[in-house]
Amino acid sequence: MLNTMMNFLLTTRRGVATLLLAALVAAPGCDLFEPNNPVDPNGPSLDGILLDATQSQIANLAVGTEAQARVDLNIYFNDVSVIGREYWRFSSADPRLTGDLLGKSTSILDNNSFYTTRPWAARYAAVRNACTMLQALDVTTADLSDAEKAAARGFANTWIAYELLMNSNLTHENGIRIDVCPLDQVAPFVTGRRAVLDRLAQMLDDADGLLGQNAGGDFFFPTSINVDGATDDSGIDDFRQFNRAIAARIDAYRQDWQGVLDALGGSFINEGGSLTAGAYHLFSTGGGDLTNPVFLNPQNSAGDAIIVHPSFISDAEEGDTRVAEKAALRVNADGTPNPASLDDLSGSYGFAVYDSPTAPIPIIRNAELILLRAEANIQLGNLDTAVADLNRIRSAAGLDDYSGDVSQGALIDELLYQRRYELYGEGHRWIDARRYGRLGTLPIDRPEDDVWTQFPIPANENV
């Protein structure tokens, strides 16, 4: 029987046709002729979130915004710290870090090189995340109260303002795009540093109002902003203090000195508290997380190292303990000095602001707030009040009270010195020198080096 069947199947045309047909019909599934229409297997889609986001998706977006705010921060810090002559970023693989950024010979800042494009794009990606959060809050059917939604909007808008500020710090008078939330539209350019800062200040004020609608409450998502150091990690009041701290910084940048003092009143300023209390970018070695991208072993070899600018050592006031805290002498295994040289630059100290790959990077901290208050008071003529704040910073650095001339000019010098040493490596010196018209005082390391005022607009903005 089996033989007959086999014979039929394999030797007659009808048989073979039957066999082939059977094979076709039995072929797996119905997709022999039809391609399917797959969803992206590699992550949640924007379309889905904009259609109707769940509460947990909005929470994911909030966490993602803070996570994204850390991406490519090393490039940002290299940009501002190298141009601000705080440190050199030695890299044998990328000569532009000691070339273009220092204006070596005839090099200029390029509008299509990574140091211009990448931090800019990373900040706007964080903004897109926050914008998506705002849009999701508008359409979501999740069980959220209006107050919860308002606070979440305040959170998103605060981050948008902060991220935009970071880009404005780079492009300065060249400006930035601000109204970028509508999808697939290119927002108009706002040029002029002052015009940008005014918009950002307004944005922060509005966000503060939204956050206030749920004062005393908690966000429905965790946040890494925890200015009081308490264990609670989603308090809205904490976040409002962060919002006000950034507002104070922006007011200082736009020389609204009374505004600085007003904003500081709502912030976490605490002259009796730890100078390091504040808002930080957090890092961990956990899966899917980032480590501190600015951290490098200060003893790393010259081909890949962050080298403290020698002027940081030589300009320091006698006894300033911050020098030893933030700069580590480079030594060989036998303890002999091991200076690093690259591209006609040479330095003996490695950058030691961060001591581990999980060290947090300050966004804004108490020391800066105290210095902002001092600055505002100097500018407003309240010189003695300012000196008290400066002395708070000085004593923490092991220095005696300020004994110099109590004049506005002398105190501004002292303020800028304290900002330079207290906030060393945290991205301030270049911006401070710029806003006080002192870029010309920054040291030139090689005869034809330049000190840049601002970055060009990235090429892909097609401005």
Binding site: R13, A23, V25, P44, S107, S341
Partner: protein, 1012 residues
């Protein structure tokens, strides 16, 4: 099951089946032999002209055939022999035929449809065929892709690395896409074979993508390298859209059809064993400067600044003492030789057994390859086994099965670009030759004082390997449904699968100099990719002949489907527990998973009309759907039409010296589906302090994406004269690609970096010429020669976006980059330049072009007394520029060989001049990458078996000894190891960006082969 009609069609045809009676009138029989050796030829195909009646010869070369009434012309065809047409004299019942070897491949058969083929003589396209002899007969190439280099007329085949395991970019007939898939479709015995290039994750250490170009720079192997070249019978290359249209929406980059060896019917058992053994060495040394102490100090221990602090002065003096001491102690060390000077042993063993009866043929083969590299601890190993079986189950059913298992292991080290000083080449560039990097007696490596890694330590103590296990199988069933004297109907069903599992295991122990740099000493990377391609096809082929008018019709139609599933996981572990390599033994572990799916479905029909081999016309169309398109259910049609006119076959043709004079023209369209994921805008995970959030990916998806469409018109003339001794093939083509899949940068302020869209137009105009000669052919000396010339010029004729940098096209205008710009060649190189001589950059200007002006290849084969064969294969590429950034790194590191030379005599040395030009002009990086390479040279001697003594001589059919060399020499003005290089591996447009690559090697091999 939504779509029934192909099945209905089959059912209908099945019902129509009926027994076919053949009218038989007279029998003819005879023996077919080889004209040179007089040996009988089994397996020769014999067909009565203009009918479907035929048979094949048996083991002894004999055949018997019933002649239909009124038709006595027999056509004898056999692979590798010239086709013969012989008329059986009336009344004669015996016909013996002698066949001649087809040395120049004039009568080979070329695949033109999905289920049919046509004689080359009747072909309307220029289709390249590479025989086993040309592919692997001269020397043993490490990989299949390497064996193709220079051998495809109309192709730019460029090896992007010298690393063991290969890595090649194939571009057929110019630039076919800007951002889409750019590799041709590889079809192996009907299976769509993966040629994926999968990054091994070494970026975790090199951080190459962290700087100026975020493209992956892991120097991946492309997977077609897994195939064993020795298994390949022939490779056909459908270069342009007019030839490849029947492959539809995956064929814009051309199609490479690989056919593996089968046993021959009635040939008896053949055993062939071959062993090659040789070594590989660095092909070219760049050298390093002969420093004087003062020169060394000027670079590595500069004077302290005038306003230096006492600390700085002390430090500068310490550095001076340090360098002086090194200089005096070590003298000049040949670091290049220490790093690249290994003589890697190359060994390849092949064993194959083939044979067959009239019903069953088989080919079994095994290969074991173990190749070392020019860098210690690098190399390539492969084990491959294959079983191909063809069986005629009954008079009407035949089937083929091919199976191939390959295991390959590549150890490629760390080369190319990095941002951490860990790549061997970058480390070498920054290490002056008075530094001793070798370990002490206890095996402890010194730290490199001038770079973050000691390359000898990295090389010796790291473990960098990728292992692939791959299985390729295919099956094919043919059924003669219906056969009469004038008609035949065949059903062909085929299916196949290609599965590979790739594992990359990278281990950098904590004691490496660079490892503590990120605070997490010790790195392990485990990458795993599983990739499954499977495809199936059903075709019906109807042939119909009108004997009176000598017109043949071949009609075919069918459906085909292909799926691809890929799953890639890469786990990076940092901060390893001492000595541990498993990724869980670490302080921080990061895992990434990426999946890829593709489903393609298509229907096709094709009609071919042949009037007495005089006029051959073909029309066809294929409709494709794909899950990668914005509308997966929409059919995209790809038509084709062609006409070949064999003028010499007409009666009016009287030039007897010219055997063939063919005019041909062909038109066709193909597509290129968007890369997977172009449709989607997706969030990715990113954790902060242990809590995971989602962040927007840089790509803005394009929901309505459609395939790119290439339209090509091709025309040509083929002439064969003097009894096939002189053959000329001339082809011109114009190929226009529209709906280009452009990935445009979007203003980053939108929150996205780029998006895919359809727009723009690209045009390739090219010319190809081939001259094949058989100048001498007698018993004492035979010379065959093939010379090819090809050129292509591409232009972006319309671009709906501003000019942008090509993917992987460099590191920005300061260093030179390949830029896509309307009205320009897509491969133009632009960069900043100082046009008015004021020492400042004046903007971005065109500085060169990566595409060659033209290429030529020269293949010559000399055979003396049928015993001694010399084969020489040369390849000339004229023009085409590279962006050479290796020199910049050696200039900055103080190690350029001409550092202190002063070519222009202005008192400023070369390196200083070049470094000063950095930021002013990128012109110095754009360098002419023309070359002439003697790619292959082989000398073989067949020992006459009669010398072996009667006992051995009867068993041994062939005993061959040989010597060969690969890449024997290169003539080039290019200032680095090899003008064939690309830091970004295979890219759609960009090529030739060099950053301290794995240097190219040269190899020498001895061969023994025995045939039983």
């Amino acid at each position: 099951m939504k779509s029934y009609y192909p099945i209905r069609l089959l059912t209908l045809l099945a019902l129509l089946l009926g027994p076919a009676a053949l009218a038989q009138t007279a029998n003819v029989s005879g023996t077919v032999t080889d004209a040179d050796t007089s040996e009988p030829l089994p397996g020769v195909n014999i067909r009565v002209q203009a009918t479907q009646v035929g048979t094949i010869t048996g083991v002894d070369g004999q055949y018997e055939l019933a002649l239909p009434a009124g038709n006595r012309t027999l056509v004898f065809t056999f692979v590798g022999y010239r086709t013969q047409e012989v008329e059986v004299p009336s009344g004669q019942a015996t016909l013996n035929v002698q066949m001649r070897e087809d040395l120049l491949g004039l009568d080979e058969v070329v695949v033109t449809g999905l289920a049919s083929s046509v004689k080359r003589q009747n072909l309307a396209n220029s289709v390249e065929t590479i025989s086993a002899r040309e592919l692997s007969g001269t020397t043993t190439n490490q990989t299949l892709d390497g064996a193709l280099s220079g051998k495809i007329t109309g192709g730019v085949i460029s090896s992007y690395t010298g690393a063991p395991g290969g890595g090649i970019s194939v571009k057929l007939r110019g630039i076919n896409t800007i951002n889409g898939e750019s590799q041709p479709l590889f079809v192996v015995d009907g299976v769509i074979a993966s040629n994926a290039s999968i990054q091994n994750g070494i970026n975790a250490v090199t951080q190459a993508a962290a700087g100026g170009n975020a493209s992956s720079q892991d120097n991946p192997v492309n997977r077609i390298a897994d195939l064993n070249p020795e298994d390949i019978e022939s490779i056909e290359i459908l270069k342009g859209s007019s030839a490849a249209a029947i492959y539809g929406s995956r064929a814009s980059n051309g199609v490479v059809i690989i056919t593996t060896k089968k046993g021959q019917a009635g040939s008896g058992l053949g055993v062939s064993f071959s062993q090659s053994l040789g070594f590989t060495t660095l092909a070219k040394k760049l050298g390093s400067p002969d420093y004087t102490l003062d020169q060394a100090l000027s670079i590595y221990a500069p004077d302290a600044a005038d306003d230096a602090t006492p600390d700085e002065i002390e430090a500068a003096q310490a550095q001076k003492d340090f360098v002086t001491n090194l200089f005096n102690t070590n003298g000049k060390i040949d670091l290049e030789d220490q790093l690249y000077g290994n003589k890697g042993v190359l060994s390849t063993t092949n064993l194959s057994v083939s044979g067959g009866s009239e019903r069953t043929q088989f080919y079994l083969s095994g290969q074991v390859k173990d190749d070392g590299g020019i860098i210690e601890n690098t190399g390539y190993e492969k084990q491959s086994i294959r079983a191909n079986v063809a069986h005629r189950i009954s008079r009407i059913v035949n089937m083929d099965i091919t199976t191939n298992y390959v295991r390959s292991e590549a150890r490629r080290g760390i080369t190319g670009n990095d941002n951490t000083g860990t790549s061997y080449g970058v480390a070498l560039a920054f290490t002056p030759n008075f530094v001793d990097l070798t370990p002490d007696a206890e095996g402890n490596y010194p730290d490199n004082p001038f770079n973050s890694s000691n390359p000898l330590q990295t090389r010796d103590l790291s473990d960098i390997g990728e292992t692939t296990n791959r299985f390729i199988t295919s099956g094919r069933v043919g059924l003669d449904i219906y056969q009469t004297e004038t008609q035949g109907l065949k059903l062909v069903a085929e299916a196949g699968a290609d599965f590979f599992d790739l594992e990359s295991n990278l281990y950098f122990p904590e004691i490496l100099q660079f490892e503590p740099g990120d605070g997490q000493a010790g790195t392990a990377v485990l990458g795993k990719t599983a990739n499954l391609n499977y495809n199936w096809r059903g075709s019906l082929v109807h042939s119909y002949s009108l004997p009176e008018s000598e017109v043949f019709f071949t009609t075919q139609g069918g459906f085909t489907g292909a799926n691809e599933d890929r799953n890639t996981q890469v786990t990076v572990a940092q901060g390893l527990i001492g000595g541990q390599q498993n990724v869980d033994q670490a302080n921080s572990v990061n895992t990434n998973q990426t999946r890829l799916f593709r489903q393609d479905r298509a229907l096709y029909v094709q009609e071919e009309i042949n009037w007495a081999d005089r006029v051959i016309g073909t029309v066809g169309v294929r409709g494709d759907r794909s899950s990668l398109n914005g509308e997966p259910d929409k059919y995209y049609a790809f038509p084709k039409a062609s006409l070949a006119l064999n003028v010499a076959e007409f009666d009016f043709w009287t030039v007897s010296q010219v055997d063939q004079f063919k005019l041909r023209a062909a038109y066709g369209e193909t597509g290129n589906t968007a890369p997977f994921g172009s449709r989607y805008t997706t969030f990715g995970p990113l954790a902060i302090s242990g809590i995971t959030g989602i962040t927007i990916n840089p790509q803005r998806g394009f929901a309505d994406v459609t395939p790119e469409r290439a339209r090509e018109i091709e025309g040509g003339v083929d002439v064969s004269a003097l009894d096939g001794k002189v053959n000329v093939e001339l082809t011109g083509y114009v190929k226009t690609i529209t709906d280009l899949l452009l990935t445009r940068q979007v203003p980053a302020s939108t929150g996205f970096n780029f998006e895919t869209f359809n727009g723009g137009e690209l045009r390739n105009v090219g010319f190809e010429a081939g001259l094949t000669l058989l100048p001498v052919n007698n018993a004492r000396f035979r010379w065959t020669s093939r010379t090819s010339f090809w050129t292509n010029s591409a232009e972006v004729t319309r671009l709906d976006v501003p000019a942008f940098a090509a993917l992987g096209g460099g590191f920005g205008a300061t260093l030179g980059l390949i830029q896509i710009e309307e009205g320009k060649s897509p491969t133009q190189i632009v960069g900043i330049d100082d046009t008015n001589g004021d020492g400042e950059a004046d903007g971005t200007f065109a500085l060169g072009d990566a595409s060659p002006d033209f290429q030529m290849s020269f293949y010559n084969d000399f055979q003396f007394a049928k015993r001694l064969t010399l084969t020489v294969f040369g390849h000339w590429k004229k023009g085409g520029d590279n962006i050479n950034l290796s020199e910049l790194l050696t200039d900055l590191g103080g190690t350029s060989p001409d550092y202190f030379d002063d070519d222009d005599g202005d008192g400023v040395n070369n390196a200083t001049e070049r470094v000063n030009a950095l930021g002013v002009s990128a012109r110095q990086f754009v360098q002419d990458a023309s070359y002439f390479k003697l790619r292959e040279l082989g000398l073989y001697y067949d020992i006459p078996t009669e010398y072996l003594g009667s006992a051995v001589g009867q068993t041994v059919r062939q005993l061959r000894l040989g010597f060969s060399a690969n890449n024997l020499f290169t003539i080039t003005p290019y200032k680095s190891y090899d003008p064939e290089v690309n830091n970004f591996a295979d890219q759609p447009v960009a090529s030739g960006v060099e950053v301290t690559p794995f240097p190219t090697s040269r190899s020498f091999l001895f061969h023994v082969s025995v045939g039983l």
